[in-house]
Symmetry: C2
Subunit: 233 residues, 2 copies
Amino acid sequence: MSMYRINFNDFFTSAFSVDCILFGYSEGEIKALLIKRAMQPFENLWAIPGDLIYPDEDLEQAAERVLFELTGLNNIKMHQSQTFGKPNRHPQGRVITISYFALLRIEDFEVKASSWAGDVQWVSLKNMPDLAFDHNHILASTYEMLKLKLQNEPICFDLLPERFTLNEFQQLYEFAFEQAFDKANFRKKIKYIPLIAHDEKQQNVKHRPAKLFSFNREQYLLSLENNSYTFKM
Amino acid sequence: MSMYRINFNDFFTSAFSVDCILFGYSEGEIKALLIKRAMQPFENLWAIPGDLIYPDEDLEQAAERVLFELTGLNNIKMHQSQTFGKPNRHPQGRVITISYFALLRIEDFEVKASSWAGDVQWVSLKNMPDLAFDHNHILASTYEMLKLKLQNEPICFDLLPERFTLNEFQQLYEFAFEQAFDKANFRKKIKYIPLIAHDEKQQNVKHRPAKLFSFNREQYLLSLENNSYTFKM
DNA sequence: GCAAAAGTGTTTGGATTACACCCATGC
DNA sequence: GCATGGGTGTAATCCAAACACTTTTGC
């Protein structure tokens, strides 16, 4: 994290940081973007990207900055998760960290290894190694919050490609809730979610190609206004 | 808040605090315990009780300390809500505040006006005045989180008296979700919540007295373990 | 034709809803 | 007896689960 570019003692006895968990979805798995720490402490361990918050910077703005440095992406909605502040969570001083998460379409950009990371990688939440600091704990609680929101807000469409098959959609929920759903019943459940059915079909599959759909966000917002439908999974 | 007992400039350029929202339930309304500020800024305005976090203190521990100073109560579960950190939210410096909430039985204790408050009062969430700082915003988001948890965890029993009538139970949800429920249907919905039915009845009512119930927490925890029931409202 | 996954229809049982009715108490 | 809320039963409806079946593509 960039705090080590600055003389640590110059900062003060306690500091705030943001940790910015980027969730993505590919190959049927929800993944988080992790960085390999290039310096002490926890050198060479994988960690959640994060940085100190500047004195006159809003929390969300700091999280967006971390996201931008890693991905070049802008205008992504940040969701606040939780705040972690055990006095000894950081070996070199008191650092209270506010964790945020964002949902990305993995295919839509290229990750840039930043100055403060030796390597960057998407890691499946099914297969998480030991992370630096208390980052396993932070990631686990944030994933719980993601799962809660997946049930109550149409944020799954921030993870899915802009055009997706209904099966990809179903598999996202199957991964998150660790259970298989019946295909016919799943389609009945999502019947009222406003989707746009395209004429376009899946390519290069060796079976009947599936129809592609997109989320009709405009219509969803309208239905929110007149209370005709609220997302619920 | 106690930060003003300390010379302000000695503290820092930025600081952390906890705000500790105490929710209670009486007379059919969910209320928050507010304090009347005895000093600048926002003197004489109502505010959420809060305090700075000591350098080697855990966040939750700080919130428990604020609760204890106000109520003398201990061993109350604190729920972390959200963190607020707009650079200008505090007129005298950068203060990032982590908000917690706790659920109390209003009848079980006496509020002590503490050194940093001129007055203390339970205020209904239906009838909230303008508060100090960004406390209206903090309270509103925290109330949203409370309502979310009321749907997924049996925390309503932390607000209700130890022995309650089914109607008090129903009215709590009616207040929170701002809608009336059918009595017979409500009772069918809660059929599987493990309750202890007492022989004791309501006293001093001028109609048929209602039976009193308590939450059977032991049995609920057992049913969680063997996955036979999970709370859902 | 066969394998593989897309896509749809039917049946069933349990939950939700609306609504009606009886019961116990104070006055 | 009457007002007031406590407490319960029933029928209609909706919804979710289980499961079977048809369709379309590549090879």
